[in-house]
Symmetry: none
Subunit: 226 residues, 4 copies
Amino acid sequence: MSLSKLMGERSDEGQAKRERRKEARPGELLDAALDLFVEKGFAATRAEEVAARAGVSKGTLFLYFPSKEELFKAVVRENISGRFAEWNAEFEAFEGTTADMLRYCMRVWWERIGATRASGITKLIISEARNFPDIAAFYQQEVIRPGTELVRRILQRGVDSGEFRALDMEYATFSVTAPMIFLIMMKHSLGACAPQDYPLDPERYVTSQVETLLRGLCVRPEDQPA
Amino acid sequence: MSLSKLMGERSDEGQAKRERRKEARPGELLDAALDLFVEKGFAATRAEEVAARAGVSKGTLFLYFPSKEELFKAVVRENISGRFAEWNAEFEAFEGTTADMLRYCMRVWWERIGATRASGITKLIISEARNFPDIAAFYQQEVIRPGTELVRRILQRGVDSGEFRALDMEYATFSVTAPMIFLIMMKHSLGACAPQDYPLDPERYVTSQVETLLRGLCVRPEDQPA
Amino acid sequence: MSLSKLMGERSDEGQAKRERRKEARPGELLDAALDLFVEKGFAATRAEEVAARAGVSKGTLFLYFPSKEELFKAVVRENISGRFAEWNAEFEAFEGTTADMLRYCMRVWWERIGATRASGITKLIISEARNFPDIAAFYQQEVIRPGTELVRRILQRGVDSGEFRALDMEYATFSVTAPMIFLIMMKHSLGACAPQDYPLDPERYVTSQVETLLRGLCVRPEDQPA
Amino acid sequence: MSLSKLMGERSDEGQAKRERRKEARPGELLDAALDLFVEKGFAATRAEEVAARAGVSKGTLFLYFPSKEELFKAVVRENISGRFAEWNAEFEAFEGTTADMLRYCMRVWWERIGATRASGITKLIISEARNFPDIAAFYQQEVIRPGTELVRRILQRGVDSGEFRALDMEYATFSVTAPMIFLIMMKHSLGACAPQDYPLDPERYVTSQVETLLRGLCVRPEDQPA
DNA sequence: TATGAATGAGCATTCATTCAT
DNA sequence: AATGAATGAATGCTCATTCAT
């Protein structure tokens, strides 16, 4: 056993823990910030509160993020998944009816976005867009556009295969995105205030929405959900 | 010489200009406040800015509203006129298919709410709900609940008449409200930032949504929209 | 009966009343201001409150007094009695022992100053002196100095007549004025807050003070009060 | 090398300068606030001025005191150290005539209260009592009542020992307290404005008052001061 | 003269940000 | 790197004062 181990094992461990913590700091701060920004909005969230929730001092926050606004942007950047490539591939490879594809799409969306903290970002951006136009534009490019594109491709697949009727494609995508966005907004605003007034079971909500939607999209009665 | 003048109402006229102003002030302030609150949120809106936009000084604002928070509440109250009684009556008296009723409902909603400044209130409340739980609860009681009730009655009429299929009524209402709320949120957030990315024609949007929805609700193919 | 009387009697009466009121305005305002300044101090008294208590509008106050500070000064001026000449004469003419003279002096002081609203001025000036040095100086010249002079003359009379012992005249006057000022300050501050803690009977207070004082001043035991 | 250094207390020293400052801050602020409140009254004292006099910025004041009113209350509390227990003991143990006791009492009062900044508190409370009824009540309980009690015990001792004549005890205490309060009020109001008009030598004032008072209280001529 | 709506300078308080330790 | 005391610009709100009617 080495001398250094004899003398320093504990401090090495201490060091290790601290370093692990040190590297985790920005993440913990972003985590805390996301929660608070979603809950109270950008302006009403105090930097000290973010730091406190992350278990560090006010000063430390500014050690990692030069300003509250940069913290906000980092929160958004951190939580905007650029996973559309992966998802696109997933859907390219999908074998089955487009109706099933859409069902899968919305269920998966709920699991990966709606049910997770990522949904807070959507609420955040929609609420703060006017104060952060560049963030809004960024979100538009990075999330809205590819997401809409993905949805459009699914719908187009349905139309091409003769499953879906002819659609005003520009607006049809909203039939898919609107219920998802709506669910997120409710979850993070009115639904969070008065849960007793919003006993929303998201699974049932998604099912209800997608089945009605499929009826609305499918061309032949026999393809429509019961 | 007018009768009023003969009767000594000259002093009434003397005060007229200023009094008309005085009576107009609260409305002008609420107008300005609505715009700014919708645009920037409650916290980021400065009282002086509201006053300036209403064409008065900072002090005047506080002459009419004891605090910024009371101003906010007044803005909300002012714009939530309980027009549901009138609408309910309108829909009770409606003669025609329930499909037409739903079409009429959503078109009218767009004209009376979505297209007007009242829509800003919805954006406002959804964005600020967590900071104003009492406002949120108030809105829930006064707007959401009666609105949902109205929608439910329409859907029930369709089901009862055999036009619509059996519905999970609790969640089916969201198929109507979600697209409306979504449109409002977009109009006041991302849509307001990057209009070029949201060349939304609301009429076309509403038509697209309602027709797909009706296909999803109607029982017999021949009732469904083409 | 004159035409004007036939046509205008009522308005003449109205006019009269209004004019009487008009002339009374400044006095009513000074009255109200005195009460409030004494009660809450200069800074904490709002101009509007003074006007309201006088039954006029805020604007009217500034019609009669160009500023709150001038109002303050007017209040002081109005209530500082220049009655020392009269009082001096009264005491010049006094026939009797100096002990009785001092008794009379303090009793009369209580009746004419201490028990009246004039006492508020003393409280006011002592409390606000540092903020109104010129007022303080004015009060010093117009009230304190002549008052002290009057007291000094009484004491001197006693010394001269052999009733009182030799006195350090500069400081002896305080033996008369201190208890009077003290009573006023208590009446208008702590005594006004917690009357149950200050069940002061002023007559008994004055008697107690003057009799002890006379014992302290008189030269021969047989002259001293029992 | 010092023991503390050997034991690793360097980091304590490292923080020392700043911590010493931090601990001193409240005291420095209370000091500055006492002066200003006494000088200008509560309302006319600006928070920034207090901070400036304490050598810190506006924000720092509110780091230590949540509001101006709390600062005021802290100033009062800080300066009302309940020294009455100590004084009571001192007077219990006093051996000598009650006349000497009273002389000692008033001299000591001047040295420990009248001549110190603590006297400002008395002025402050008497001036602001109506605006801070709770402070006034607190002062009444904590200072006035025990102080009066102490005086009453002294007087009673004199009466019991046959030195003093029978007294209307309720009011006799004022013969002791009135001159003291009067001196304080003068020192902090008119006396502070026009020192040339108040060339008060407090020692001589106290002597004059106490000797006249003792003459007024003592029963036998031979006990009375010359 | 009297009114009271309007003003805006002034002040208490907050909070993002800095920096000595 | 981490802290938290200190800062001061920013902002809600008050109130003496003005002025159109």
